[in-house]
């Protein structure tokens, strides 16, 4: 039984370690600089013995932006550096994946938006390809918007997936979200588009209109992954801390602090180790052994390292299965 724990994008554990070149277009950001940052991150992951990481979807800045064709050739310009990063990831046994931002809406009714989303998916798949990564390097998407017709939105997603070239399609994975498309919706899409499903624990807890049991949802999603590719899941804890909002009074210029309750869909800073161990046991009891878990917490890698410590202390049997 092996569970690889990972975290997305931003590293908080050491000072000043960037995830990608964030400069604006005027300052000429470039994939080659982002790859130098990614190299530094991989070095950090090795020291922390972390074997799963989601790199920034903006690794190649402006690479698909329609107004900036000067940025469109970055993958070709960095073939050697991309191959070196892939080699480093393989040598360190790190699984890399990418999750394009919410603006990538494959099922958008407007063809222009859908086309931009397709281009983005193809671009991200090409990046993974240029790194020489196996099919475990996935491009993760949400279904997108409902646009007033839930069924039509699902069908449109399937049709858009069918329009992707096979190399990009083969790297796609789909995640259940927290208020639009449930695990059941994603299974419906999987049956038609044959893309694997990433089970998101918190989203499932927030949006499960079919009343599906946790063990059934987990095992159904994990069963969508092809032979030889470790399934991937997301785990996060809902924020419970009070939210403090600062507002500047226009008349007095004074800053006022107001408090409000958090949304259950918000991620907590760290992770609840007890819920996590229960979750892992559910998967194990369902006969699921090897999978990867992307931890989504505001404290990023710090949350992962803390979770490891907590599990070693409170659930040593689960800790033995973690990598």
């Amino acid at each position: 039984m092996t569970i690889r724990l990972g975290f997305p994008v931003k590293v908080l554990g050491v000072t000043g370690l960037k995830s990608h070149d964030t400069r604006r277009w005027q300052n000429g950001p470039h994939l080659s600089v982002s790859l130098a940052y990614l190299r530094d991150v991989l070095d950090y992951l090795q020291r922390q013995e972390i074997h799963f990481y989601r790199f920034s979807s903006e690794l190649a800045p402006y690479a698909t932006h329609p107004d900036f064709p000067q940025f469109h050739n970055q993958i070709a310009e960095c073939e050697r550096e991309l191959a070196a990063i892939g080699e480093m990831a393989r040598a360190n046994r790190v699984r890399l994946s990418v999750h394009p931002g919410q603006y990538v809406v494959l099922n958008a009714p407007e063809e222009e938006l859908a086309e931009r989303a397709r281009k983005e998916v193809i671009h991200q798949a090409r990046l993974l390809e240029a790194m020489g990564l196996g099919w475990e390097g996935v491009v993760l998407l949400h279904v997108g918007g409902v646009y007033g017709d839930h069924r039509a939105a699902r069908e449109r997603f399937v049709r858009q997936v069918e329009r992707l070239p096979s190399e990009a399609r083969r790297r796609l994975a789909l995640e259940n979200d927290d208020h639009r498309f449930s695990v059941d919706d994603c299974l419906w899409i999987h049956e038609r588009a044959d893309i694997p499903l990433v089970f998101d624990y918190l989203h499932f807890r927030c949006h499960n209109p079919e009343g599906m049991a946790l063990s059934e949802a987990v095992s159904s999603c994990l069963a969508t992954w092809p032979e030889g590719v470790p399934p991937k899941m997301h785990f996060s804890s809902p924020r419970t801390a009070m939210v403090v909002v600062e507002q500047q009074d226009a008349m007095s210029d004074q800053v006022r602090r107001r408090t409000r309750a958090p949304q259950p869909t918000q991620h907590a800073d760290y992770l609840n180790p007890f819920v996590f161990t229960d979750f892992v046991r559910v998967a194990w009891n369902a006969g699921l052994e090897d999978f990867d878990v992307m931890l989504e917490a505001k404290a990023q890698d710090l949350a992962l390292l803390r979770l490891r410590e907590d599990i070693e202390r409170f659930a040593p049997d689960v800790a033995r299965g973690l990598v």
Partner: protein, 264 residues
Amino acid sequence: MMEEVQADWQAEETPALVAIMNNHRDFEIARQEGWYRIPVKHTPRRLGAEYLAFYQTKAFGEEKWAVNYYAPVHRIHLAQRRDLLPQEADHPRAEDWYYRIEIGPLQRLPHPVPSRRLRRITFIPTTLARLLSADEINDLWLGSEEEERLWEAFKQNKIKVERRVPLREGDEAYLIDFAAYCRQGKVAILCGGAGPLGEGSGLREHPAADYELSTAGWSVLRFSPQQLENSLGDCLASIRQAIAQEGGLKASLDNANNRKEGEL
């Protein structure tokens, strides 16, 4: 051109890398051709940066032993030495791989950032803000919150120590967060434990065995983040006492004639 670069960055978060410049030919390549090279097998732990700065060694006369210039980073590509320096195709390292860092025009820093003691300088990951405001090399290191707090206290109290001093013991390499060089010995000051080389204390405790440090002639003081946060005054008192026991701090080695190449 720097003038065209929009100020869209927050300088404190803009990564910069200080690299060694030890000969005039490489300086001219940087200035005129706009690139600098780092051997892949000697790449620092932090390579990614938006700015590259140069620590100039003894070869540079009045500009020696200081960081004087910096430039924006445009690209970072891999290349073999024979392609970088085709006129040296027979060089024994002609087939070796390097990072070719393409840079913009060299800019002079508002004031030089000198090293004030005899020590080996290699690469220093820092930020643009630090580069522009540093008084000396030790100001450039990026430390944990507690390490920064202690460094500020040292400066305010005029206790001249060195930051991030590498110590190699057996198979393990450690960094001493702060090193006080005294007349009769040396004091190693560790903020929560010495870290893996190149990253300071890092996340985890990497306790370089006090015994190993002691056999290398160091007196060791360790402070937890809580101690540094809640009782900085007591920490400083302990440090002062340890320095006094070792005969007090040595005077700064400002005599340039005694310095070795690549060191100050």
